[in-house]
Amino acid sequence: MSEFLLAAEAVPPKLGIFRPVNNTVFSVLISIVMIILVYVMINRAKKGEKIPEIRKIPGIEAFEEAIGRATEMGKPVHMTDYSTALGDDSTFAYWSFLAYIAKQCAQYDTRFIATDANYLVNVVNQEIVKQAYLEAGKPDAYNPDDIRFIAGSQFAWAMGVAGLVAREKPAAQFLVGYFYAESLILAEAGNLVGAIQVAAASSPAQIPFFVAACDYTMIGEELYAGAAYVSRDPVIMGTVVAQDIVRVSLYVIILLGGIVQWLSPQNNFIRNFINF
């Protein structure tokens, strides 16, 4: 075996610089297109120029409805995510929702509790919520003890959140971000205390649980679009619009690729291009 390996020549890099495996050049090209589009769309959004409108996301109105209900009942609002890492795309979406919900709660003088499982994300969460209270003109109402790091371990965190929900009895619970096996534990904990629940999740395996146990669920891409929708931040708006343009373009490429594969399976130039 080792003789064969020694005899095998090293595969040269594609175009002299890319790893000699499928999809590398195509992925770089898509990334470059994406970077340019994001740059253009963000700039257009910042200047107030026209960019494609993001469609209304079902469930967005539920945020205000849920916070309003908590305010009327004089109970807290609770928000959580498993927040796997600082650079995770879902964590960035979570932060947009966090800023929006914290600001709404601050304006209505409703207690806001956020829990998470990553101590680095927690530091950022505290800064975001503090800023939200400042923007709402209520810096004194900000309580850092309500923006809690529970535990890094998945089920210790889930247990802590379930216990907190049972004790604090929030009237509204928001489950935003990327979740794993704990999703149903959290959603059921909210159900037991009669909280109105809104989930926005990007993990395909956990969305079914939220659909079953929550009042409103935003699925997959709606998490990111919802983040743009609520924040109205031109940077996020521009990013989501650019992402959608790339998504539609890739969709067309895949449709054409399927047709070409049917007509000429031996020589599908579209598939070869994607695999390059």
């Binding site: 469609r55 650079g87 149903l184 998504r247 539609v248």
Partner: protein, 200 residues
Amino acid sequence: MSRTQVWVAALATLACYSYLYKENFFFRLAEHTMIPLAVAHVLTTGWHNTFLPYIETHVKGKGWWWFWIFFVMGVLYYARFLPARWAWITRYPISVSVGWSLGYYFSLFPRQYGVQIADAVRDLGVFENILFFLMFATSMMYFFLTVGGNSKPFRTAAQWGRWILMVGFGASFGNTVSGRISLFLGRLSFLLTEWLGVAL
């Protein structure tokens, strides 16, 4: 497991399940034991599996003194506990960490989607592939955020896509619930056989 360990595991299991009745002292005891244990575990493993090996291998072994810069950056996270005049320093390690993580993910992600895109291009001469293609085409339309909103055929197709997604979610739900029941049965079997000594 020793008899003491079996007792601890059994009582902790019951304490956790007692939540199903209502939040109570025993659940709180289990919760307030589990969380500090988990945090202590992360701290200890971080110290022994990350910090000390890095010091031994890289700082002492290879002489990479600049690793101490990352140590200092880590310590700066605690600056938020300083008086407000200095607390802003904590934003520097945050920004470096966020920037680094983003770069890391950005370098990893595009290719994995490229592989999925290539896989979605299938021969439409086969029935299974036609079915896949129709499901893919309609369910993807549900996630278009900026186009087609005003077109009725588009909205109808996207609605079909939503139904297909729901069927998929239902299958996933059933599959996971059966997995959870199997986990519960495992726990029940532990309580009955190892703890209570019932012969099954």
